[in-house]
């Protein structure tokens, strides 16, 4: 017969009555007996934990100390990105002093990990999950102001949001094409990954949303090992819900 389901095993571990068929099965099934024994051990550890006192929250001064230590290492620096009106011809690399705050680099690195995992899951997925359109943007070429395709934010059935970019990439860019989401003040931003063809899909890391980061930006990044935005944007659009 089928194994007992989790709820039934939990009921047994808590000493509640269950169906006779389930009670008989668990006596003759090693798998279910092992599960039951593990749940009984959990119940016993709960009883044992009752002999210890409740948890003691630290005094408020501890958080103040943490906040002060963390704040002292993340001092704000001038906005590193060229304004929205910047044309492609205006090539200028930021001075080294205008590096991003460390957390932006950290966020970009973490985003890379997420995208890597997502790329694999796309390859192995058999069916396309259900999607809901969250926002979209018309993309413009910043040099010519010509129409340069679209960007859409779609929500997958598992809740993750994905930026889908359809644009015509230059045939001979001066570096890799990197996709960013940027806030309205053009101060905060997050890299979503590199665009390698006319179509790209990028998972948006948790904590970033299109209301706070509505600008889609595609930049040309030379292979110089600098993870920050080059300042050389070629295409932009503003996401609207």
């Amino acid at each position: 017969m089928r194994h007992c389901d989790d709820e039934t095993l939990a009921a047994l571990a808590l000493g509640e009555p269950v169906d006779a068929a389930d009670a008989t099965h668990v006596e003759s099934c090693d798998t279910c007996a092992r599960e039951l024994s593990a749940l009984r051990a959990t119940a016993a550890s709960l009883v044992d934990a009752g002999t210890s006192g409740p948890l003691v929250a630290p005094p408020t001064s501890v958080w103040a100390g943490i906040a002060a230590e963390v704040a002292s290492e993340a001092e704000p620096r001038p906005a590193p990105v060229v304004p929205l009106t910047a044309a492609r011809g205006a090539r200028r690399r930021r001075e080294p002093g205008h590096m991003f705050r460390p957390w932006v680099v950290g966020a970009a690195a973490a985003a890379g990990v997420v995208i890597g995992a997502f790329g694999i899951s796309l390859l192995t997925r058999d069916t396309v999950p259900e999607q809901t359109l969250v926002a979209q943007a018309a993309l413009s070429d910043l040099a010519s102001e010509a129409d340069a395709g679209t960007a859409r934010v779609e929500q997958r059935s598992d809740g993750t949001e994905v930026l889908v970019v359809d644009t015509t990439v230059p045939s001979d860019p001066d570096g890799a094409l990197e996709v960013w989401l940027i806030d309205p003040d053009v101060v905060g931003m997050v890299s979503l990954g590199f665009l390698t063809g006319d179509h790209g899909e990028f998972e948006i890391p948790a904590g970033y949303d299109v209301v706070s980061f509505p600008i889609v930006d595609i930049s040309v990044e030379p292979a110089d090992g600098d993870p920050t935005h080059s300042g050389d944007s070629i295409t932009r659009g503003i996401l609207e819900s």
Partner: protein, 197 residues
Amino acid sequence: MTIARVEMVADTAVGADRPDDRALDHEFAAGAEGSLERLYRSVSPLVHTLALRALGDATEAEDVTQQTFVSAWRTREGYDPDRGSARGWVVGIARRRIADALEARTRERRRLEAVRDESPPAIADPLAAETERILVRGEVERLGPPRDQIVSLAFFEGRTHEQIAERLQMPLGTVKSHLRRSLLALRRGLEAADASL
């Protein structure tokens, strides 16, 4: 289909498995603003209690708590949400900090004993069992309302299911269902907590 629907209804009634925690894991890994504070609100009582019971000194326990979270923030690029919860990761850092503090204390005591030419007292280890109890308490707290309260009443205070139902103005079947699901969640949570240490 029927079974799936019944389980969905039960999930809605009893509460799904802490989706907020997963969101926080990813936000913390990405260094999102406010994520450290939310993680602190969630796990600092557990970290502080572990330090307090192990070290027996309020000032030292507060210091270990502070250094644990500062260290967690500074080294967050080494944290991978796919491999476990941020909570578990922080508790792991805390336990290493506590072990370091105890080690430093032992070295200091040995140095003094060598000077006084005394033999060291036998070191009992009631700490491991107490640590386990505190971790279990932490997992129960993490269940959130109303499950944390139901489990506390049933296991820590030894109330019957009927007493709990009456006290919380809740149908008896709902209390039992909460307890079953809590037990399953706690088993998974404690396994994950052990795995991350």
